[in-house]
């Protein structure tokens, strides 16, 4: 009898917690996305740095370059991987895309990269080679927090200036768990965040 009472108590509490979680989902789920977002603004003349991780961010960066023709743009992508176009890597696709979008060829730099950490290293290397003093790192909203930590780590004591910029169109941080693309992105970031932090601390 006591056991039945205990079980019914546990079931009631569990049901209460579940009901609360469902009713107040907007309150407790929203911060998972908003904590990932960092907003900065582009400054004219900055080197624009973008990876081929998503088309939205590439398009946003391309638009920045078009509006600021005096700027330069560094495009980073993995050359080891295949895309739906046979024989073409994400970096090759970015080159084709840059042509289709009529981006000025002399303002573009393409470099091979396999991760955000390599993106940061490649950006720093190029800035030193070409004498750029400041860069705007462009990505998708949910990627910004992790991106900022990694870039700041690589650029520490370099005297180079960094800004972090993202587009907002097409993202739904207030209802991310109901939109598949946003859900995927937010969860992936929360998985990668601790892994990258540990990796930076241990390996550098």
């Amino acid at each position: 009898m006591i056991r039945i009472k205990k079980i019914s108590k546990v079931v009631t509490v569990a049901f209460f917690i579940y009901s609360m979680a469902v009713c107040f989902q907007s309150i407790w789920l929203k911060p998972f996305a908003s904590l990932l977002i960092v907003q900065g603004s582009y400054v004219r003349g900055d080197l624009i740095v973008v990876s081929t991780g998503s088309y939205e961010r590439f398009l946003f960066a391309a638009d920045l370059l078009k509006k600021n023709p005096s700027s330069n743009m560094l495009i980073l992508g993995d050359q080891r991987l295949e895309t739906p176009l046979p024989g073409k890597s994400p970096l090759d696709i970015a080159k084709i895309e840059a042509d289709l979008l009529e981006l000025p060829k002399d303002k573009l730099e393409f470099r091979h990269s396999t991760s955000t950490l390599v993106d940061a290293r490649q950006a720093k290397k190029l800035m030193k080679e070409k004498g750029f003093r400041a860069a705007s790192i462009v990505s998708d909203p949910y990627n910004m927090r992790r991106l900022r930590i990694i870039f700041n780590y690589v650029f520490e004591n370099s005297n180079l200036e960094l800004r972090f910029v993202h587009g907002e169109e097409g993202w739904y941080p207030d209802s991310w768990w109901k939109v598949e693309k946003d859900f995927d992105f937010v969860l992936k970031e929360w998985i990668k965040f601790p892994i990258d932090l540990i990796r930076l601390r241990l390996v550098g």
């Binding site: 979680a21 993995d78 991987l81 979008l101 991760s115 097409g170 598949e180 859900f183 969860l187 992936k188």
Partner: protein
């Protein structure tokens, strides 16, 4: 006692070190589905390839249904150029696929559920009885997962295949390649997304 705890800790670390790659490989392998089939009315794909022609010539499929993600801000133009229809038709001509065998559908897709619902409506409107889906190898389990849930009750036999043959060898170290790691993870998240929205009693988009 402390020595025993330490020993257990060392054994666990060693097991993780030796076992983790095998588990990760299995996680990757689980995502791959390849349904054998005799013949199907429609072959559903995102793009044409020599294998689509081969299936047509062998009589395994009757028509090719190409679905294009028509999102100007979400899909690389490099995949289709500025005119997707024309590019697909040109490719068909190059491969020697008769134009009348190709049906092109365009839509801005917001996710797997949207995509599978769209395919369901097309196949229902065509009164199809069977269809085979061509997908990238890592996406075949996700396709099967959503087909099982959204085609329930319809009298349409569905098969899922990947185009390129991928051996287990290629799955080794998938977690070491950022893009593959992202793609593999996305598949599990897509399935998790379905369950989370069921749990939260919300309508997934």
């Amino acid at each position: 006692m402390k020595k025993i705890y330490f020993l257990i800790f060392v054994v666990l670390i060693a097991m993780g070190y030796w076992g983790a790659p095998k588990i990760a490989k299995q996680i990757g392998a689980y995502l791959i589905v390849y349904d054998e089939f005799e013949n199907a009315e429609y072959l559903i794909t995102n793009g044409l390839s020599p294998k689509t022609l081969e299936y047509l010539n062998m009589g395994k499929v009757e028509k090719i249904l190409v679905t294009v993600d028509d999102d100007p801000k979400g899909v690389w133009k490099a995949f289709y150029g500025k005119n997707a229809d024309l590019k697909i038709r040109e490719k068909a001509a190059k491969l020697g696929i008769p134009q009348e065998k190709i049906l092109i559908y365009k839509k801005k897709f917001v996710g797997e559920i949207d995509r599978i619902t769209f395919h369901k409506h097309i196949l229902a409107s065509l009164k199809a009885e069977s269809a085979v889906f061509f997908d990238p190898f890592y996406h075949t389990r996700t396709r099967r997962f959503f087909l099982n849930r959204y085609f329930e009750g319809l009298d349409i036999k569905t098969y899922v295949q990947y185009e390129k043959h991928i051996g287990m060898e290629e799955l080794k170290q998938w977690w070491g390649k950022t893009t593959y790691a992202n793609l593999f993870l996305e598949q599990y998240l897509s399935m998790g997304f379905y369950y989370l929205n069921k749990l939260l009693l919300t309508r997934a988009v």
